[in-house]
Symmetry: C2
Subunit: 216 residues, 2 copies
DNA sequence: TAGATTGTTAATCGATTAACAATC
DNA sequence: TAGATTGTTAATCGATTAACAATC
């Protein structure tokens, strides 16, 4: 257990660093300084150094951090040692976006089963993923050793789906439904609430516009 | 200026409270206590009270908070006094999900123009929204008084789109692209990074599974 | 060596939590 | 009044920022 209590935000930033580093490596950049990396994600150099220290990665004052090494270290930290299976529930627009994105990028993290209520979709293959009927969630999740669930159903069904996921042994949930889920403490939930984000952006956009007016 | 520096998170929670309160009102609930509301969003009673105090809403020790009043007060705080126009750039799966959701829910916040590079989509009406070619972003944004932009394009194009939005006077951006945007300080950016969320959930799901094993 | 950066410690800041008097 | 809840202040906690010696 090298990393007992790593903050949520650090994990998120590590994921970002890796993506940027992969681009840099592709462009031939071998070394990078903390302030350069910070500039690319809109953070501070100290923050970058702290994050990398957290995962035990060290740089040198003259060369900064080795890009290829760092990518490998972040991978060793973030990625599952073996495959982690994911179930997607609800194949609407969001579900399809995820199905389209994942196969190519993260080989260790793959959506191995999708579920929907719509009989039109059941037992068809959508974006390369088999779609099952909602009722079979528990059965399939158990059989396929599903560890992560994505909830992309209407708010009214989200809690029922979450309960079924928890019962079948899922440990993490990404929730796109516009409702907070009630789950046991040992289940990690990541909420993605687009409506809330839109309202927040609208609010702060307006507030800043007002501030600007007052300054003038 | 009654609310000089309201925290980002408070605004987000207020948006959540309102949604829950609307459901409660529909079910006939007239009053609610802070701990009840807290239970529904997975927060604490003190947090709820602080949030409501921030917007100047007070309750009574015997009845708690008046649901209908509170909805109105949150609305007065969060919502724009007049219509705020939104532009969506990139009509993929995510874009379509947003187009499908918004018209019905938030009358003051409407997507009045969509943009895409695909000639198949240009000058067609998709989900009730006219789609323009990418080149016309600046022109249309100016003409329609766009205040908020949604970026739902591939990472490689996101910065270019953001720059164009900023030039045309947008004050807030909701960014679905998997890349951090560089924008002036007075522009509010809300990042929604699904890949990062998936990686975070996968990481913590695994970590908690490990903890559980160790306890046993 | 000089200079820039790293790793580490101390200080600051903000938000959350706890405590408690005021209220209905 | 008694009891539960509210509004408000003080204490705690964590994360960020600043400062600085160590390093190449």
């Amino acid at each position: 257990m090298p990393h007992p209590n790593i903050p949520d935000k650090t994990v998120g930033r590590l994921s970002l660093y890796r993506r940027i580093l992969n681009d840099l490596l592709a462009m031939g950049t071998e070394n990078i300084f903390s302030h350069q990396l910070a500039g690319m994600i809109g953070g501070t150099a100290a923050q970058v150094r702290r994050d990398l220290m957290t995962i035990g990665f060290t740089g040198s004052p003259t060369k900064g951090y080795d890009v290829a090494d760092l990518i490998k270290t972040i991978g060793g930290f973030l990625d599952a040692p073996e495959k982690q299976n994911v179930a997607l529930v609800g194949i609407g627009n969001i579900g399809r976006a995820l199905l389209a994105y994942f196969p190519s990028r993260r080989p260790n993290l793959s959506i191995v089963a999708a579920f929907d209520r719509d009989p039109e979709k059941v037992d068809r293959v959508i974006q390369g993923c088999h779609c099952y009927s909602m009722e079979r969630l528990g059965e399939i999740a158990g059989a396929k050793d599903i560890q992560l669930g994505i909830i992309a159903v209407p708010a009214s069904e989200a809690q029922i789906v979450a309960d079924a996921m928890v019962r079948s042994g899922v440990r993490g949930i990404v929730n796109f439904a516009r409702v907070p889920l009630r789950v046991p403490a040992h289940i990690y939930v990541e909420n993605i609430d687009m409506t809330m984000s839109m309202e927040k952006a609208a609010f702060f956009a307006r507030q800043r516009a007002k501030e600007k007016e007052e300054v003038q």
